[in-house]
Point group: C2
Chain length 368, copies 2
């Protein structure tokens, strides 16, 4: 049967989302399932955000404001920057694709760490541009390697800080030094989806103002992680208007719902909720270190994290460990052949993960 | 200052959304503003949909299901088709762009009516593909002209039925005859965003099953118009899975919120609400005909409509009439040099429009 022929997508990797709790429950006949695979806020959405949405529901028959003026004004106040320095998108997923579409011209390439957010790869591949991968250094981003990879074809440099899935970070000094070597014709994107969880004293606090010195820098932030608003689909970029305009050109019209705008503005005010969650992550992160140190004799190790997740290296193949955990009702995310990425949950969720991991590894090691 | 150079978007037309009530109120210092520019449901969202959303709000911290399984199952039941024959997107705006991205290969073109939804033009231009425009025939889509425009480069044919902004329609017989002449290598997209309002007895009732005979046909539907859920961003395509898969490849991950899925499923059940609105449109449409007939001596005319909007031709430039109406607190949409598109509202809104239009035209005619 002859059919309209689509583009060839064989080079575009699939993004495989974590399975939902409902699906794992059904597949394994489980009553309780714990989802630690998507770095969502386990405390739920900000209650103030939900209240604001409820008040706004009756206006849902209207199209949203194409440029999210109200939200950009909230962001302007929050970051003390002009509103035209913000571009809002349906999550950073949309933003990352749009940056590729707006900036990768024929023959141009994007430099990115080998182990990072897969959307950078997809964004380049959708533009028929093979990514320029830079190997990791101790699970972290190798800025010297990134700099060496830059050539005449390079148009975008992707840096996740903290990095996903490894949880490592780059300091203010490292980043500034790196930026000083990058030609201004190259767009440097700092993806700070997890910045709210960083507690390292030298983690950059002022990257949203780097554009003042380096106008070729864009900073990305999201409401899907710390703010607990993943399904509302809201991310944003901070940068000079000249860089943001082309991205808006390729972004969908009306991509951010007015309900999402309302939720985001209210969540920005809910500092108590954010701080409560942040403390939970910092406290539980120490428990992860402690419990995983205890499991070191089993061949389990981890990378210290600045995110709300932790990268764990295993003595067995990650797919098998992932399956074993899933059978026990704990969903994590395989990351590489011998690694998993685990979201830091509430204490009971983390306890279930610790017990499950130990059990799975012990079982695998005793059955040859 | 050197900056990263974006793609050249000079050929991509801007989509200019209708101004919001709030903005027009502020600009003109008005207390009441009536928005008849975006073909939204003036009765608001389906109350059942809002109730369902409220029950679901607390799970908003989770990412949505990438392929909207629950909603596709609701649609499958609603249309009595398999769930894999549906693809959900963030409104038809996203779908139309994605169809272009997935199917327009280098050198290929899209055939479209000269006066239709501007997103078809944007979708082609974003793929660096100049649209093949076909002139209108009595404000309607000229299928013979469309057929003649088809050549070796043609990859997509866009047909809005009813057509936006003219409100004309194509009958079952006309469409079937047309489809029988189109080679199967060409994708035919029937955009039925306004199908719920059609009352012509020969309007196609079974186009969602045309794929059985013509597998190269995709049908588009939306929840933004009849269902009153514009800000939730939900549209969908009906067609064979082989045609839908490439579109999913270029669609954003998680583009449809789980709240939107919930709202849409509930709205599909709310047949009473839909029927109530439909009757409102059909009744008020007759009032539009009556009032506009009365204004015929002023040089005002209109095109009979199958949508929830009406295309009105004017004796004066549409931009001037649009401005005059806006000063009086009525927002409509200019469409062409001497036309406006007006959403059929609730009776009081329509009364305000009738009075405003007559006043504006009389004033313009008396001031040389």
């Amino acid at each position: 049967m002859e059919l309209p022929k689509p583009r060839d997508f064989s080079q575009v990797p699939a993004y495989i989302p974590g399975k939902s709790e409902e699906r794992v429950k059904a597949e394994y006949g489980l009553e309780t399932v714990i989802k630690l695979s998507s770095n969502e806020n386990p405390m739920g959405p900000s209650p103030k955000a939900l209240l604001a949405v409820q008040h706004h529901l009756s206006s849902a028959f209207r199209y949203p404001d194409h440029t999210s003026t109200a939200l950009r004004e909230c962001l302007a106040a929050y970051h003390d920057l002009p509103a035209d320095h913000f571009l809002v998108s349906a999550g950073l997923e949309e933003m990352i694709n749009c940056i590729g579409r707006a900036y990768i011209l024929e023959g141009q390439r994007a430099v990115m760490p080998e182990v990072s957010f897969i959307k950078y790869v997809i964004s380049a591949r959708l533009m028929d541009s093979p990514p320029q991968f830079v190997p990791m250094k101790d699970f972290g981003i190798d800025l010297d390697g990134m700099l060496q990879a830059v050539d005449d074809r390079t148009k975008i440099i992707w840096i996740a800080n903290p990095n996903n899935p490894t949880g490592t970070y780059l300091s203010e000094t490292q980043l500034k030094e790196f930026l000083s070597h990058i030609p201004p014709r190259i767009l440097v994107v700092l993806d700070e989806a997890y910045c709210e969880f960083a507690d390292a004293p030298d983690y950059p606090q002022n990257s949203h103002r780097y554009f003042e010195e380096y106008p070729n820098v864009l900073v990305l932030r999201t409401f899907s992680k710390a703010f607990g608003l993943a399904t509302f689909r809201i991310g944003y970029a901070i940068g000079i208007p000249e860089l943001l305009e082309p991205i808006l050109k390729v972004r969908e019209i009306f991509s951010v719902s007015s309900l999402s705008e309302t939720a985001a503005c209210a969540a920005l005010q809910d500092t108590e909720f954010l701080e409560h969650y942040r403390q939970l992550v910092l406290t539980e992160k120490k428990r992860y270190y402690h419990e995983l140190d205890r499991m070191a004799p089993l061949g389990i190790s981890y990378v210290e994290t600045q995110g709300n997740f932790i990268y764990i290296t295993l003595p067995e193949e990650s797919q098998k460990v992932f399956q074993g955990l899933q059978q026990r009702g704990v969903i994590v995310r395989p990351a590489g052949k011998y690694g998993i990425r685990v979201t830091i949950g509430i204490p009971e969720e983390n306890d279930a993960f610790f017990a499950g991991l130990e059990e799975v590894i012990r079982e695998m090691r005793s059955t040859p």
